[in-house]
Amino acid sequence: MIPLSYFLILSAVLFVLGAVAFFVKRDLITMFMAVEVMLNAANLAFITFAKSASSIDGQIIVFFIVTVAAAEAAVGLAIILLIFRQKKTIKSEDINLMKG
């Protein structure tokens, strides 16, 4: 039996990797992927706790997150596509339309 902490450490490592990638990488697609990694890190933590507590709640939340992530990927990629069409770039530092 693999101890509970291993899963949680893996989840934490994945989350930190995702966060770091989000800040380090410049193009939107990669940043988007980093977000997905962070989401799945959270999923892993949920599953872990669900298993250890013998509760189904965590698994249900994971299903929700996967579904939302799918929808979000569709919308997010569409937005990125449109931004590219408009501005001929997907570098995040070139996009500051909402500057106050």
Partner: protein, 633 residues
């Protein structure tokens, strides 16, 4: 049958509403018909109500019709309720009767005005407001009417607002009236405090029950009377009335001669128990009335504008009404109000007819000899002048005589003497007006002369009717020398007006007083005849001999200038100063400061809004970490 009297103000109100909304689109003929008919219908209902009132026993006076509760706040209560008693019946009859004739006259006079429907909307609105004023059963609703007629007066004086002088005259009337009305409303507040109710019946029972001390009564009575000096153009607030002649002439006749300006007299008569209780306040009323009567009459002596002479004459005659009220002869004051409504509106309408004939000329120096050109206007004007001068058996004689006799009987010899002196002046300036306008040399310019014509029947018929009433209206209030109990008018008002404890004069004294007042009227006319027909050089030599007095009178005692220097200009200067220093700096500074501080903080916050997604994510992450740290530790 009498319970329909609430319709009297209601009908003109409906007519006003229709004219205000659809007036622009309706044909002129229909507008004239509706406006006149509304007032006529009110008149008919007033007559019916009067008949009903006469058949009702005195114990049930006043008849009250409560339409609905208007204000209910704690113990304070004001209803939209009307009352019918002899006093309000007389006023309603005068307002609707004379008002109807003036409406008809207006159809002819205003026929070619481009704002025809606006004119009749205002005129009907005025009738409505005036009827509210005279028929309300509590002081609060009376104040609504009081302000309503003030508003209509403003609107109608400034009816030709393109003319600068007319717009200014309207403003002047409105502002001067505000001063009086401020005192008036404070008086109403005191009534509400000390009586606890604004109903006239409650006020009267509070006074007769002794709930009001003499000091309080004096306070309230004087405050209300200050309001009356504004509305009824008495010293010191009379200055607006001469300027009000900028309005159309029928308006001057209706509002500034027959009805609105007499509202103060009505109010004092309505509150007669209050003024009877407070001897000091009554004395103030009598003295102000007497001084105004003679003061305004002297100003009328030198004016050359035909309407301004009549305006000063109106001020003077209202002074007589206040003499009547002040000496306790409220019925005599009301009687003079009633007869004055006929002959003064007749004089104004006849003056309007002269203006109409002379293409709008007002200056008497450019008239003269009109007698043969205006064969109908001349006799009617003459009847009005004879009536106001107090020549026996015309209406003005009876009412003026009633006032002066009562003044004498109550021992106010000073007031009586002023009244007699005023009567000489009245006769003089009225006949000066007649002689300058209708007799003597023709001083018109040739092109004006070509156009002289009698006005259309819509204007002449009201003149004839008013002339008829100017002659006969006095016969319902005959003095005691012609027999006991012939003063039907005074008898009719008795349920409202408590009999004063007057000292009875012997018949001989009464006769003497009548002879004196007739004699002075004749003397006034004789002087005018000598001055302006026989020896026209006398006035000029008098002017040359007493230039100071002439100048003083001609410039109306410089009162306008004094008021301008003491009140108007300091107010304007002060307002400009406050606008400059306080309004622009403090008020605007505070408002602009609020706005600019908001935009300053907004600018600081906008530094965080870079538009870059990574910055947001970083802040988001830091926030999440802080939040978790907070939860953990």
């Amino acid at each position: 049958m009498t319970d329909i009297f609430w319709l009297i103000p209601f009908i003109p109100a409906m007519s006003t509403l229709i004219l205000a909304i659809f007036g622009q689109k309706l044909p002129k003929k229909y507008i004239s018909f509706q406006a006149c008919f509304a007032v006529f219908a009110s008149f008919i209902i007033s007559v019916i109500s009067l008949v009903g009132l006469l058949q009702t026993s005195h114990e049930s006076y006043p008849l009250v019709k409560n339409l609905f509760s208007w204000i209910h706040a704690g113990s304070f209560k004001a209803d939209l309720s009307f009352q019918l008693d002899p006093l309000s019946a007389v006023m309603a009859l005068v307002v609707t009767g004379v008002g109807f004739l003036i409406h008809v006259y207006s159809v002819g006079y205003m026929a070619n005005d481009k704002s025809y429907s606006r004119y009749f909307t205002y005129l009907n609105l005025f009738t409505f407001a005036m009827l509210i004023l005279v028929m309300s059963s509590n002081v609060v609703l009376m104040f609504v009417g009081w302000e309503g007629v003030g508003l209509c007066s403003y609107l109608l004086i400034g009816f030709w607002f393109e003319k600068h002088s007319a717009a200014n005259a309207g403003k002047k009337a409105f502002i001067v009236n505000r001063i009086g009305d401020a005192a008036f409303i404070i008086g109403i507040f005191f009534i509400l405090i000390y009586v606890g109710s604004g109903e006239f019946t409650a006020i009267n029972s509070a006074i007769s029950g002794g709930a009001i001390t003499q000091g309080v009564a004096t306070l309230i009575a004087v405050l209300l009377f200050v309001g009356a000096t504004g509305k009824s153009a008495q010293i010191p607030l009379y200055v607006w009335l001469p300027d009000a002649m900028e309005g159309p002439t029928p308006v001057s006749a209706l509002i500034h001669a027959a009805t609105m300006v007499t509202a103060g007299v009505y109010m004092v008569s309505r509150m007669n128990l209050l003024y009877t209780l407070s001897v000091d306040a009554a004395q103030v009323v009598a003295v102000v009335g007497a001084v105004t009567a003679i003061y305004a009459a002297t100003m009328a002596l030198t004016q050359n504008d035909i309407k301004r002479v009549l305006a000063y004459s109106t001020i003077s005659q209202i002074g007589y009404m206040f003499i009547g009220c002040g000496v306790g002869a409220y019925a005599a004051g009301m009687f003079h109000l009633y007869t004055h409504a006929f002959f003064k509106s007749l004089l104004f309408l006849a003056a309007g007819s002269v203006m109409h004939a002379l293409s709008g000329e007002l200056d008497m120096r450019k008239m003269g000899g009109l007698r043969k050109y205006l064969p109908l206007t001349y006799p009617t004007f003459l009847i009005g002048a004879i009536a106001i001068s107090g020549i026996p058996f015309l209406s003005g004689f009876f009412s003026k005589d009633a006032i002066l006799t009562h003044a004498f009987a109550s021992g106010q010899y000073f007031v009586w003497a002023l009244g007699i002196l005023g009567a000489v002046l009245t006769a003089f300036y009225m006949f000066r007006l007649i002689f300058l306008t209708f007799h003597g040399k023709e001083r018109m310019t040739p092109e004006v002369k070509k156009h002289i014509h009698e006005p259309p029947p819509a204007m002449t018929v009201p003149l004839v009717i008013l002339a008829f009433f100017s002659i006969v209206a006095g016969f319902i209030g005959l003095p005691v020398v012609f027999g006991k109990n012939l003063n039907w008018f005074g008898h009719f008002l008795e349920p409202v007006i408590k009999k004063s404890h007057e000292a009875h004069l012997t018949l001989g004294t009464e006769w003497l007083l009548i002879i004196i007042s007739v004699a002075v009227a004749l003397i006034g006319i004789l002087i005018a005849y000598i001055f302006y027909i026989k020896k026209p050089q006398i006035p000029h030599s008098l002017v040359a001999r007493f230039p100071f007095i002439y100048k003083l009178l001609y410039n109306k005692y410089y009162v306008d200038e004094i008021y301008n220097a003491t009140f108007v200009n300091p107010t304007i200067k002060g307002s400009e100063l406050i606008y400059d220093k306080f309004d622009l700096k403090v008020i605007d500074g505070a408002v602009n400061g609020t706005a600019s501080s908001a935009s300053f903080f907004g600018k600081i916050l906008s530094y965080f809004q870079t538009g870059l997604i990574k910055d947001y994510a970083l802040i988001f992450l830091l926030g999440a970490i802080l939040f978790i740290a907070y939860l953990l530790f």
